[in-house]
């Protein structure tokens, strides 16, 4: 056995053990998240697969460029294999995301920006395979599908730019996607600026009181589509310096959180959060999540290289068959 083979073998075993460890850690190491229950564990599976999908798309595009440049069969095999592995991860991310959304947000599909992007990505992959199956000539199939792959890659930045404008808001935990929101929230003062805006929600601070270790703020909420004014009472734990009770905005999945309190001057820092925000601030979750990212990346690399080798081998066999059947 050569050194290269032995190294490959060792890497494969390591990958298997690593992935098994992640599956175990997903249930034993990651703590239950308050708002999401066991469904919150999906972050270990869902986010890395979604991330690998985009990586696979980029890898496939790079191979396509190389194919058009050098016209080597191995580059085409790489492009197809990366796209196939990417399609697999894309389907996994979509299905796991829909499952999670159905449990936590009450609907499997919400036209959230990331849902839109991943759906279009799924369609592009499918179109790429449809095109390949419709072209008979080998050389032409490789050339035209590489062109289509690159052409599709050109539209991706527009999709990433446009998708957030489609839905009014997002349920994915990322404040940058919430229209008009600042990731830092707003400070409201009892004696000064009592009214402020987060996105299209108008907040008015009514009072702050201290109940033991908790600082509780009374906030009046006005939002479009809501006839009456709602009164929410988010609270803040003074000893740990972290938000405690995060009430939901009426009729929406977003939460209102107090992220800072200045009791002497009567000031509070208010921010809106999507459910799941702060999931990664737990260090056990964070490290399992990072390990899962590495594991899934390794899995993707192993999958697509294996598939590329198989494709090349098939191609070589097919050509040999043709060569033997031709009359000398």
């Amino acid at each position: 056995m050569s050194d290269r083979l032995r190294l490959d073998q060792a890497a494969k075993i390591l990958l298997g053990v690593w992935m098994a460890g992640i599956v175990v850690a997903m249930f034993l190491v990651v703590p239950q998240y308050v708002g999401l229950g066991d469904a919150g564990r999906i972050i270990i599976l869902h986010v890395p697969t979604a991330w690998i999908t985009t990586v696979a798309f980029a890898v496939s595009a790079v191979y396509s460029i190389r194919y058009l440049w050098k016209r080597r069969a191995s580059d085409d095999a790489g492009a197809v294999a990366a796209a196939e592995a990417g399609f697999l991860f894309c389907a996994l991310a979509t299905v796991s995301g829909m499952w999670f959304a159905n449990i936590v947000w009450g609907t499997p599909w919400n036209w959230d920006p990331r849902e839109t992007t991943i759906l279009i990505l799924l369609l592009i992959y499918a179109a790429y395979f449809a095109l390949r199956s419709a072209l008979d000539d080998v050389e032409r199939r490789r050339r035209l599908s590489a062109v289509y792959n690159l052409f599709a890659a050109v539209t991706m930045p527009f999709l990433l730019f446009v998708a957030p404008r489609m839905a009014e808001s997002t349920l994915h935990p990322n404040c940058a996607f919430i229209q008009g929101s600042h990731c830092d929230g707003i400070w409201l003062e009892l004696n000064g600026a009592r009214v402020g805006q987060l996105g299209d929600v108008v907040l008015a601070l009514q009072g702050i009181e201290q109940r033991g270790d908790l600082a509780v703020a009374q906030v009046e909420v006005r939002m479009p589509g809501l006839r009456e004014v709602a009164l929410l009472t988010p609270s803040f734990e003074l000893s740990s310096g972290k938000p405690a009770d995060r009430p939901e905005f009426p009729g929406q999945q977003f939460l209102l959180a107090v992220e800072g309190v200045d009791l002497t001057n009567g000031r509070v820092l208010l921010n809106m959060e999507a459910p799941g925000t702060g999931l990664l601030s737990n260090s056990r979750t964070f490290w399992t999540f990072m390990a899962a990212n590495i594991g899934f990346l390794g899995l993707f690399i192993w999958l697509y290289r294996l598939r590329a080798d198989v494709l090349l081998l098939q191609d070589r066999l097919a050509r040999r068959e043709v060569a033997y059947e031709l009359p000398a």
Binding site: A134, T155, V162
Partner: protein, 248 residues
Amino acid sequence: MDPRVSPQSTVEASTTTAPPKAPLLTAAWAVFRKDVRSELRTRYALNAILLFAVSTVVAMSLGMGPLTTSRNADLPIIHAALLWVAILFAAFTGLARAFVQEEEARTAAALRLSARPTAVFLGKLWFNLALLLLIVAVTTTLFVVMLRVQVGNPGLLAALLLAGSLGLVAATTLIAAIIARASVKGALFAVLSFPLLAPLLVVAIQGSANALAGRGWESGVGALQVLAGYTIALFTASLFLFNNVWEP
């Protein structure tokens, strides 16, 4: 002179790589005129698409006609979405024709010999654009009349329709050249084009809804900018990639 290059081979090279003597735009114009002339002889695409557009709009107005009388706040966006769906599917039926016909009539090889790839691409692009603008004009007029749509800002709507058509043509002309070489042409054209057109559709529908609702130009400037950027990006990418598609 290089002894390895015989005079004969230079002559051969110049004939096989097309006669580059005509300037690019002149050659492209010639391709465009050839396409227009052959289309006017058969009127295949023209008839098919116009009838398709008419039947789509009639089918929509059969169901949507009564909606106009009731005051529905979402009506502008519904109308805008329906209008763009009609335009999109009319485009899917007609825009592949320019390249598919060359393959079916087996004239692609002759075209390869007589014009540079870029000239062929530009000529076909102009032809598709002319065809699409005609479709858009007919569809929109019919749509506005038959569904009793109130257009609040006609200038903005026209600008968005023009920008959207430019983007649509920039995206689909290269795809048409690709699918002309494949075995199941019609269905494949829609399948390959749709994912690439998704950003364009989103922006165009939202902008058109603003125009129908009668909002000012400032509500559509963002959409026009995105459409212009999309058109430029895809047009440039097409110019780079078309040589690879057009190889025999």
